[in-house]
Assembly symmetry: C2
């Protein structure tokens, strides 16, 4: 039985896998991107990894999801914020020359969307939105049973939708973009601030109490225990663990993140009216408390969403979504998507 | 040559017209909706008007755009904010029984989108967004060369996308919705406030100047001249006239409206990546200054829209867009859109 190779090129890692017809990853490899060295040297190492996988099974096609805008027709990368030096590089052509296999390229969030749609949490939906919460906040959509590409192959850029007109500046040049509220860096930043604020408050409180001969009744957040006294190990996973264990500070931060993410999803639902929204990526490690807060926010916009068919769920493929979806690009882009 | 009948049912008026294959309205009628009397009595009068039009030309089909959510498959109205008593009414069935013609129904903003796409400012685009600025702010989209309906026939609800998380309350139960900033009522409200503020400032200033023996140099806004001393006649058209004549207060209000509308369009462009955005409806009477401000706002989100194929233009069909688009529903909904 023949397989396809799916490749997920991010700013830090390149992940690739041999994906069978059922969407299972039967073998995988991982490389450092070394983005600073440019695309050509990465292609050489990637070519070798592809050869290793081809030795295991017969391979029909190669699909590549890339962090940045991608011209689907020509397989050329454009404006990749986390891949300096890759702007204008023809991934399709380079890999086709090297492997002799047909190669298809798209934005990484679109690949994730395709993966969850065909083999994950989005199965059976004709209208789906999938979002990937990590450093940035990308999105992809299935509309009328086809992948939404847009006129410039740039649809689904959820991270740079505005949710607060006069909000803080974003790296895109705009203000109040969703990414500025739910991007991993900003969530962790808010959690650190909240933890330190609480620690300060407790210290002051304890001093007053000892003066009065009483004990402070507010418990210090467990984030210090989990992530070290300087919170240097704090990430979405640890924050999620603390929230699930009932830590008040962690829960507040997660709830706030869910509120902002919920507003972004309100905009998606108002414009695209999907029947399912699938949330994936590192920040989804915040777990059920995040989902609860997102759903609460979306439902609070009562009137316009009343009685709709609308589910908001976590992805099922986890970190493999990008690989699995990329492997299916050949089939779906050939149909002109 | 046979024609189709297009019907545009709003909260105040029902407009209908005989539309030929080129998208020209060759005859038209207008009725009061009398929304309070419910749909059945409106259907009787509508039936009579359809008969009048059928006497003029051979009619193939009837299409209806309705202000509210519409179940396209069954032609049933749902949650129509401006048509109390119409919830659950089967427009398709009622008109088919009455006329014996095939009848197709959709949301009015979707009909406008179809009209501008086939016969107006959106011709030739595979990815288009059309928005109708009036009392509310509706939208419709063409995606991959097909009308975007969504899982609940509710796609394109631009008016209730969020642009300011902590903004003023909207009638939908949300906060900071786009409609709360660019709906006709709110634009006129802001214009009145700005005019009165300026009048007050000038009065105070003149008193000080006469004390100093000098004349005030700030000119009173011409809005009072155009719309009466209590501004009671003020509407989008008059505001637009004042802005084009260089009135400072009018220009500030129009610019602000364009800024907010621009943020709404930023969200549309980020998610759907259309190659053209078409603006229609009463508030588009604000004219070129509005368009300038919208474009400036969208372009200011520099990085993510750089080098994109993206036009923002006014509609070409004006008030006829709804009729013309509705007349084409038969063809496009039959293809399952």
């Amino acid at each position: 039985m023949s397989c396809d190779i799916g490749i997920d090129i991010g700013g830090t890692n390149i992940k690739l896998g041999l994906v069978d017809a059922q969407g299972s990853v039967v073998a995988r490899r991982r490389l450092d991107t070394r983005a600073g060295l440019g695309p050509k040297r990465a292609m050489v190492r990637l070519g070798a990894a592809i050869e290793e996988l081809r030795a295991l099974k017969r391979v029909r096609s190669v699909g590549v999801g890339i962090a940045g805008l991608v011209d689907h027709e020509h397989g050329v990368v454009r404006v990749p914020p986390n891949l300096p030096g890759w702007h204008g590089f023809g991934v399709k052509r380079a890999l086709e020359d090297m492997t002799g296999l047909p190669v298809w390229c798209s934005n990484d969030a679109n690949a994730v969307c395709l993966g969850e749609w065909l083999h994950g949490a989005g199965r059976g939906c004709d209208n789906l939105f999938s979002l990937t919460l990590g450093t940035g906040c990308g999105g992809g959509a299935i509309v009328n049973g086809r992948l939404l590409l847009g006129a410039n192959h740039a649809a689904g850029e959820l991270g740079h939708t505005v949710i607060q007109a006069d909000g803080p500046e974003c790296r895109c040049g705009g203000k109040g973009c969703l990414e500025r509220y739910v991007g991993a860096k900003y969530v962790i930043q808010r959690a650190k601030q909240a933890a330190r604020r609480q620690a300060r408050r407790i210290r002051v409180h304890r001093n007053q109490m000892s003066f009065l001969g009483d004990a402070a009744h507010d418990r210090l957040t467990m984030l210090f225990e989990l992530a070290g006294p300087r919170l240097s190990k704090l990430d979405a996973r640890l924050l999620g663990i603390a929230a699930r264990k009932g830590d008040r500070v962690a829960n507040e931060v997660v709830e706030e993140t869910g509120y902002y993410l919920g507003l972004g999803i309100v905009n998606v639902v108002a414009l695209l009216d999907p029947e399912r929204v699938v949330i994936g990526g590192g920040v989804s490690g915040l777990g059920r408390p995040l989902l609860r807060s997102v759903r609460k926010t979306v439902l609070s916009r009562g009137q316009i969403f009343t009685g709709r068919k609308l589910d908001i769920v976590f992805g099922e493929l986890g970190n493999d979504a990008g690989i699995v979806g990329a492997a299916r690009l050949g089939r779906w882009l050939r149909r002109r998507v």
